[in-house]
């Protein structure tokens, strides 16, 4: 029966499977990260400002 499935459908199903596996893996990866992990995320352009002593104001 599998031979009757057209190539585009097989390809799409394979990619769908890969996405689902990635989602499950990513969920597990995220779940085990500590809540304060986000504090370590640093953008280079903001780091440049901090390095030069430019204040990063929080917008209202």
């Amino acid at each position: 029966m599998i031979n009757n499935i057209p190539a585009f459908l097989k390809l799409d199903l394979i990619i769908w499977g890969i996405l689902i596996i990635l989602f499950i893996g990513f969920t597990i990866y995220i779940y085990y990260k500590p809540a304060k992990y986000i504090n370590k995320i640093k953008a280079q352009a903001i780091e440049n400002k901090k390095h030069l002593g430019i204040k990063i104001y929080r917008l209202r």
């Binding site: 990513f26 779940y31 995320i41 903001i46």
Partner: protein
């Protein structure tokens, strides 16, 4: 009155009711703009997915399949990759600073002039885009109801504005669940019906159901089923174009990603776009197959009508549910774009830039007023400006440049505010020159999609200016044009002392 029309009318009123139902969730401006940053994974994922599944992803993919075959599946594969890229690499950066809009993040990364430029360009671009998408929505409704295009556009535009006015992002989140359910049941149900019930009825299908019958019917119509069923039927350049569009178009597109800003925490903000990628992937299989059926059955000669013609020619209840699915895909996109445009207009331009010393109630009021202004003006624009369809280039030209500014600001130490500012304007000017062939016909020489052309221009500009500029203490050392939290704190301290 046809059964398809009755189903569409019932669905239409149900959606408006659902959008208005969300009003009890709204207490402050943050509830309107980012749903109080309280959305869970499912709300964010279905909002992102249903916003992304617009006219291009439904009617557009059926049109491409009608002409060129099932290679169109790469459209949604590329879009899924763009969404995953956003979830893996960008969402937590935005979430860390609790941003409401993409231009606001450019303020953190760069400076005030970049923030102002990005705000203005985004608002103008999305305003055009709202009008364009409303025209597409009106065309669908007009083709089903038999009303004229202008009346259809006006009814849809006003209805959408009403439910967005009620609760902003909460309304979008509530209605998105219904939209996703409708898209996820209506379109596959119609697809299943076509494959199992309609294809065997074609004389050329030899009474066989499924793709084998569709292949027989295509061969019977004098077409080459093998090449139309090939996943590479569009050619490498088209697939590359889809990937560049997905990767450049999503990580800095306000209308698509602003639901991530409303996520209850950074984990939700990262996971939801990846889930949205899973939700959107099968869509082109369903719509593309129905597009090919329309061609095999000879339902129309106009590729743009392939999907609509299929749904109007099958069992009326199944077709009506399928049309409701297409309607859901279109209206969720228009609502997302309208809301994204109104968010930037009210938060960045109106409050922070023009009326900085105002309070939360002022922002809530003006967010609603701007939803009303943009919604009504777009509906009237769609009724009266048919040439607006040619202005889609405006959004395509700036979205790649925005993505480049955000990506370099995150990962490149040399990224400079002047580079970000000028790369936005170069992309816009380059886009106008490309679109209108000023002074020469660039398209004839370069043969690139306008978004790729503009992204290349802004990339070159960004890199060159960054390499020749230095960060100094003067760089981006302007004070923001509004109260900062420290002043708030000082005022609170002062009040306590009093």
């Amino acid at each position: 009155m046809s059964i398809q029309l009755i189903i569409l009318i019932i669905y239409f009123f149900f959606i408006i009711f659902l959008g208005i139902l969300a009003v009890r969730k709204v207490k402050a401006s943050e509830d309107l703009l980012v749903a109080g940053r309280n959305l869970g994974v499912m709300f964010v994922a279905v909002s992102v997915a249903s916003e992304y599944m617009g006219g291009l992803g439904t009617i557009g993919t059926a049109e491409v399949a009608f002409n060129q075959g099932m290679g169109v599946i790469w459209y949604h594969i590329a879009s899924a990759c763009g969404l995953m890229l956003f979830g893996f690499a960008f969402a937590h950066y935005y979430r860390k600073y609790n941003v409401v809009t993409v231009p606001e993040y450019l303020y953190y990364l760069y400076d005030i002039k970049t923030w102002k430029a990005a705000s203005v360009l985004n608002v103008v671009g999305y305003w055009f885009f709202t009008i364009i998408q409303m025209t597409a929505l009106g065309s669908l409704v007009a083709s089903v109801t038999g009303l004229n295009l202008q009346i259809s556009v006006l009814i849809c535009g006003l209805a959408m504005t009403v439910y967005l006015l009620a609760a902003g992002m909460w309304s979008v989140a509530f209605t998105s669940v219904a939209f996703m359910f409708t898209i996820g049941t209506g379109i596959p149900l119609a697809f299943w019906w076509v494959m199992q019930k309609e294809i065997p009825l074609l004389s050329t299908s030899a009474g066989v159901a499924g793709y084998a019958g569709l292949a027989n019917a295509l061969n019977g119509a004098g077409l080459d089923a093998v090449s139309l069923f090939s996943p590479f039927s569009l050619g490498g350049m088209a697939v590359l174009g889809y990937f560049l569009g997905g990767v450049l178009g999503i990580p800095a597109a306000q209308a698509t990603i602003n639901y991530s800003f409303g996520a209850k925490n950074w984990k939700v903000a990262r996971l939801a776009p990846v889930l949205a990628a899973i939700l959107i992937l099968p869509l082109s299989i369903w719509t593309g197959s129905m597009g090919l059926y329309a061609r095999a059955a000879g339902l129309t000669t106009n590729p743009k009508l392939a999907l609509g013609a299929t749904l109007m020619n099958i069992h009326p209840i199944i077709g009506g549910i399928g049309i409701a699915g297409i309607f859901a895909a279109l209206i969720s996109t228009v609502a997302g774009i309208l809301f994204g445009c109104a968010s930037i207009m009210s938060k960045d331009i109106w409050q922070r830039w023009l009326h900085p010393n105002t309070d939360d109630r002022y922002l809530s009021r003006w967010t609603r007023i701007w939803i009303l202004i943009i919604g009504i003006s777009s509906a009237f624009g769609a009724m009266t400006l048919p040439k607006i369809l040619q202005q889609a280039f405006f959004v395509y030209s700036i979205r790649g440049a925005l993505m480049i500014c955000v990506a370099f600001g995150l990962w490149w130490r040399r990224a400079h505010p002047d580079a970000a500012f000028y790369s936005l304007w170069v992309a816009l000017v380059g886009g106008i020159m490309y679109q209108f062939s000023l002074p020469i016909n660039f398209q004839a020489y370069f043969k690139l999609h306008i978004s790729v052309w503009c992204a290349l221009l802004s990339l070159i500009t960004f890199v060159i200016i960054s390499l020749y500029s230095r960060w100094t203490t003067q760089t981006s050392n302007e004070l923001p044009p509004f109260i900062n939290f420290r002043r708030d704190l000082e005022e609170k301290e002062g009040n306590k002392n009093d």
